[in-house]
Subunit: 217 residues, 2 copies
């Protein structure tokens, strides 16, 4: 499948590399076509990998991953507006406020009674936003089995059931077993999964090594 | 031990009943001495149980549980200010905003860059606030083993290590094994554990029966 990965941070590159490994054709999108990390990615894989602007990548992808830094996501997606129309956008991003130093918090306008997932859905009503993979280390996103044989939880939410089913299928391909994917309903669930970063950061400070959350029931 | 439980909601009564069962002397605190649930509690246990105002209960307790509805907690604790001074206050409360209907959110002034745990600590600097048990069903608080033999996580945080050690010991008595109690550091950790209610509510909507969160590592 042709998949766009918007964002050249660790999350974007990690997901893009895994998708290449699975045989998909990937275009990495960034603000500028001369983005060094995007070019490095393209050069690393001699086929199936390419890079372009956010808009070019969005037009390329049948499915689009949003791995853009939360605070820039709306702006970047606006530049790719026509490309993401009527497509599934898998939103992995967290709206962390990086301006106030530690302890990190969420952008005030995108927490508690709102979330980045919802904000993207409101701004781009023709795009099918599916929020997932945003409560864990990026290594776990693409290798769930590296921790306890995959026995931990990945949350998913979004307004479109068909879109969620397609994303679940892609998650299965990546290695997520169905019983570890918990559907939290519509995109408002992003409030819960994005706010989990506040707990996540404290667990990170309190534990050693890779960890994740599991819903026990 | 003499323990005060402030608040007569389901959480307060559940915790108070368990502590009675463990042999502690409990005074339930409420706004008024004529609170029906507090009187019912006192009458149910012919010894070791009593009830009074928030202030009377706070003076009675060597350790105090705050199980007051989040939005009223500061006001109620202010009325008991002298009673809670220099004591451990175990804060179980969540600052849910009940004024805006569904979906429930946190009080805007007590989330993201603040929390009820921190707000209590700031208002009552001579009290040792320890936040714990606030990420789960109240039945699990006092019976962790009823779910997966207790194999799920209870978070704890607070500024005073000695106070946290005493609270951990009380948690052990209630049934929490040490390996399931995760210390998240100082009281700022409350931001993470209180915000977990946003995720919790969505998991509640998506699953059947009792559930809890476990940190897998």
């Amino acid at each position: 499948m042709k998949i766009a990965v918007l964002g050249t941070g660790a999350v974007g590159i990690t997901i893009a590399s895994k998708l290449i490994e699975l045989g998909h054709q990937i275009m990495i999108g960034s603000r500028s076509k001369t983005n060094e990390k995007a070019i490095e990615f393209t050069n690393k894989f001699d086929q199936n990998a390419s890079n372009g602007t956010f808009e070019e990548a969005a037009f390329f992808g049948e499915i689009i991953f949003n791995c853009i830094k939360g605070e820039f996501a709306i702006q970047a997606l606006t530049s790719a507006e026509k490309g993401i129309r009527n497509k599934i956008l898998i939103d992995v991003s967290i709206p962390v406020n990086t301006h106030n130093g530690a302890p990190l918090s969420l952008l005030p306008e995108l927490c508690n009674t709102n979330s980045l997932g919802e904000e993207i859905q409101k701004n781009f009503p023709d795009t099918k936003v599916v929020k997932t993979l945003n409560t864990m280390w990026n290594t776990l996103m693409i290798s769930p089995s590296m921790l306890k044989n995959g026995d931990h939880t990945n949350f998913i939410c979004g307004n479109d059931d068909e879109a969620k089913a397609k994303v679940k299928s892609l998650l299965n391909e990546i290695g997520w077993k169905n019983e570890t994917i918990l559907d939290l309903g519509d995109i408002v669930g992003s409030r819960g999964t994005e706010a989990t970063v506040l707990l996540w950061l404290r667990i990170w400070g309190a534990t050693i090594g890779t960890f994740s959350l599991k819903v026990v029931n």
